[in-house]
């Protein structure tokens, strides 16, 4: 476990990985998981986000929910930087299978292949997948 200590927060810092595997709007998991990400950042944890499988749709540009009467929360991903959440990864295989490229995404991300992603995943203390 990563038992380092942080400047501002006088508690242990762990590596939290949020694995986002579900599309937005069809279910609430993407929205409510994002709320956990923000709280983890407020607790000064070492937070990373992975978007894989249908989770890559969470950060597709130009979402417009006017026609389905559900709150568009996609701008929150842009706000993550302000919470010092800057480690955003996207699995290359998931992106390609959906005919998407980095240009389709609304935030800067690092694209990793599944092998690199498995190394990243294995280095975490806490993994929350939804």
């Amino acid at each position: 476990m990563a038992e380092e200590f942080d400047d501002e927060f006088d508690g242990p810092v762990k590596r939290f990985l949020f694995v986002n595997r579900k599309a937005p709007y069809g279910t609430v998991y993407a929205l409510e998981s994002l709320e956990v990400v923000l709280i983890s950042a407020a607790f000064d944890q070492d937070v990373s986000l992975v978007f894989m499988d249908d989770g890559v749709f969470q950060i597709v540009k130009d979402q417009n929910t006017d026609g389905i009467n559900i709150k568009n929360f996609s701008r929150t991903y842009r706000a993550l930087e302000g919470y010092d959440v800057e480690k955003l990864y996207v699995e290359k295989e998931s992106l390609e299978a959906r005919g998407l490229s980095e240009d389709d995404l609304l935030v800067p991300v690092e694209v990793l292949d599944s092998k690199a992603l498995s190394e990243l995943m294995n280095a975490q203390d806490v993994v929350i997948s939804a």
Binding site: G26, T27, V28, N69, I70, K71
Partner: protein, 119 residues
């Protein structure tokens, strides 16, 4: 035409209830009749008056209650599914009624189409 509607999932967790609301609204706008909306499985969770979502998001329970109020749409919550999940008269929002599964079968018989929204 007469529509029966079955909603199988609770509010927010799945889009099912939202899609059903949109479908019902569009059907009413086009002059169709909604003979009944039946809430089954986790769909019964759409009927609690205590639902209090953030103010910048839609309030699904209130949207259903408004359809009952403004268009007389019958909102029936399955009693067996409701008991499992802790929905009873003490938590029921305006416009909803608790009744038996027979009301679903009746809706299937009496409506020209039964349209199911779920997970």
């Amino acid at each position: 035409m007469k529509f029966g509607i079955l909603v199988n999932e609770g509010p927010f967790t799945h889009q099912a209830s939202d899609s059903a609301l949109q479908f019902v609204t569009a059907a009413l706008k086009k002059g169709h009749e909604i003979v009944r909306v039946f809430f089954y499985h986790d769909g019964v969770n759409n009927s609690t008056k205590f639902s209090d979502p953030p103010s910048d998001d839609r309030n699904i329970v209130k949207l259903w209650s408004a359809l009952a109020e403004e268009h007389g749409v019958e909102l029936i919550v399955c009693v067996a599914a409701a008991m499992r999940r802790g929905i009873n008269d003490e938590v029921l929002a305006p416009g909803f009624q608790i009744s038996g599964l027979g009301q679903l079968v009746e809706a299937g018989i009496n409506a020209d189409r039964l349209v199911v929204f779920g997970d």
